[in-house]
Symmetry: C2
Subunit: 326 residues, 2 copies
């Protein structure tokens, strides 16, 4: 499977990514690239937290269902998602009258589970390791059309829309910084920018952002292949798995130029900047991308951190706003 997905992904063309915009126009918005004034760099926040359901994942979810075979969909839709992608699938499926079953890990934010229920999804809560098994095997033990939240060509292509928008909104972009969950977003953005001719001629650097409590891509790059890492406690969910998916590794290995690992203190400070200066509510993963973009090594550049989503527990948000780091 890994060779197949990566091979198919590398074979995508600009037309594949351009087709996404029309396909998801009724589900997702073109998010703004919000300028944030800084003394030493130009920074634009790609504010995916403003999407319907508060996350970039509506793009990929809508794209995946739009291109799925209708006969398969009729059996119902299954996915395994910490929340945002599950919500996107649930909303896109609801619009098509399809039942949805979502497997979620018991570490998910309560606000995400409640939102899934509001969208009419059936929820199955399992341990993080059981959930990870479903992700790895694509087998949820029930019939239906399984949509993988990350390692799915339609998902990667759907995410690519973000890259095309950045190329148009910030034509002088030097570096795009993307929080690393499963790798579907960063792969889609990188492939779309490459297809648009923005990586190659004048090279746009693609930087993955990880949180100190779990940095699987950093570990994989060091080892030269995916390895299992410890997943420490964190207020930041949505990123930080126990390992890079084998089928995503060829993509991440070739498309990611660098990785920045962010501390919880840096992420918390970034969350406060996003609220007080950009007036957006970000979830931890989005704050990690801004924190990485503030790294001294990007001084003098035009940088675009992707603020992946805004679904954060109110209590956590209020605590971090009040000055806490964890």
């Amino acid at each position: 499977m890994d060779r197949d997905l990566a091979t198919a992904a590398f074979a995508t063309s600009l037309a594949d990514f351009q087709a996404v915009a029309d396909r998801v126009a009724n589900d997702a918005i073109v998010t703004p690239a919000l300028p944030l004034a800084l003394p030493d760099r130009k920074l634009f926040l790609k504010a995916e937290c403003l999407q319907p359901l508060g996350s970039f994942k509506i793009r990929a979810a809508a794209n995946a269902l739009a291109v799925a075979p209708k006969a398969e969909l009729a059996k119902g839709v299954i996915t395994a998602s910490a929340g945002n992608f599950g919500q996107g699938i649930a909303l896109a499926a609801k619009a098509r009258g399809l039942p949805v079953h979502v497997v979620v890990p018991d570490t998910s934010a309560k606000v995400k589970i409640a939102a899934l229920q509001d969208l009419g999804a059936t929820i199955e809560t399992v341990s993080f390791s059981d959930w990870w098994q479903v992700i790895m095997t694509r087998d949820a033990g029930r019939p239906g059309f399984f949509v993988h939240p990350v390692a799915e060509l339609a998902v990667i292509i759907g995410n690519g829309g973000i890259g095309l928008e950045i190329a148009r909104q910030v034509p002088d972009v030097d570096t795009v910084l993307v929080p690393l969950g499963g790798g579907g977003m960063i792969s889609g953005i990188a492939l779309a920018l490459r297809a648009a001719g923005r990586v190659g001629g004048r090279k746009v650097r693609i930087v993955a952002c990880e949180i100190e409590s779990s940095a699987p891509l950093t570990a994989a790059r060091k080892a030269g292949h995916p390895v299992t890492v410890k997943r420490g406690a964190s207020w930041i969910d949505g990123i930080g798995s126990t390992g890079v998916l084998p089928e995503m590794w060829p993509l991440l290995d070739q498309l990611v130029d660098d990785v920045v690992v962010v501390s919880h203190a840096q992420a918390a400070q970034a969350l406060r900047i996003l609220a007080s200066r950009a007036h957006i509510v970000a979830e931890g993963a989005g704050a990690v991308a801004l924190a990485a973009a503030l790294h001294p090594s990007f001084a003098g550049q035009t940088v675009v951190p992707v603020i992946s989503g805004g679904n954060i527990d109110v209590a956590t948000f209020a605590r971090i706003l009040g000055g806490a780091d964890t």
Copy 2:
């Protein structure tokens, strides 16, 4: 002066408003109209809180300085603003190398005063009644080019840009809901929509939004002329003056179709919805516009509340998020 301003404002043409977009393109962004899913109406949040400096006022401030006589500007710039407009003037003036003096009332949010200082403005803090005198007389007791935050043709025209964007982004809009501060924003939006032919043929209703602690337009409409009202304590600043400016009354009298007065509980609930479901940080005035748009009387309509800004004290924001109404 009142006849002059209103007469000039009513004489504006579509070209006057269209010219604003190019003139402020380096200062302000085209804000998104964010869909908020509701069972009984279509609602799009015109998210001016995403502007640089977190407020719609950058539009009018940049427009006012762009059209001001250069010889006058050379004496320095003076304004009197609770913060957001002052910040806009300070930023636009800084870009032009001009000193700025800002008179602010001692009721202003601390975060706004700090932001003004960061932008290099000289701050003069006075009592609310003394500040109001400056607003009424346009005399700050010092030489310089005075820009009125509300009753200034260039300000009203600058705000009109919001109206043209709404007409393009939400072509089926029925009602635009605007928080009422001095009346400059609602007048600009209404005039621009009228100029664009959107008020007249198929009538777009223009609704002013006030907070229960101070509702000067409601009082003026009842009396048939501006009257002095009590200004009660509130966590919501930026709207709620002690009376409609006489020179703004002819505009407000003719352009505003209706007024909705919102309670603090409704505004607080709207603030929480904006944070948890739209993932934007709004100041109280912006929350008032959403609260008004949720009024049962707008069921079945396409409504656009203007979320005027996002500059709110962190402590106040956290308190309301935590469930408080006041």
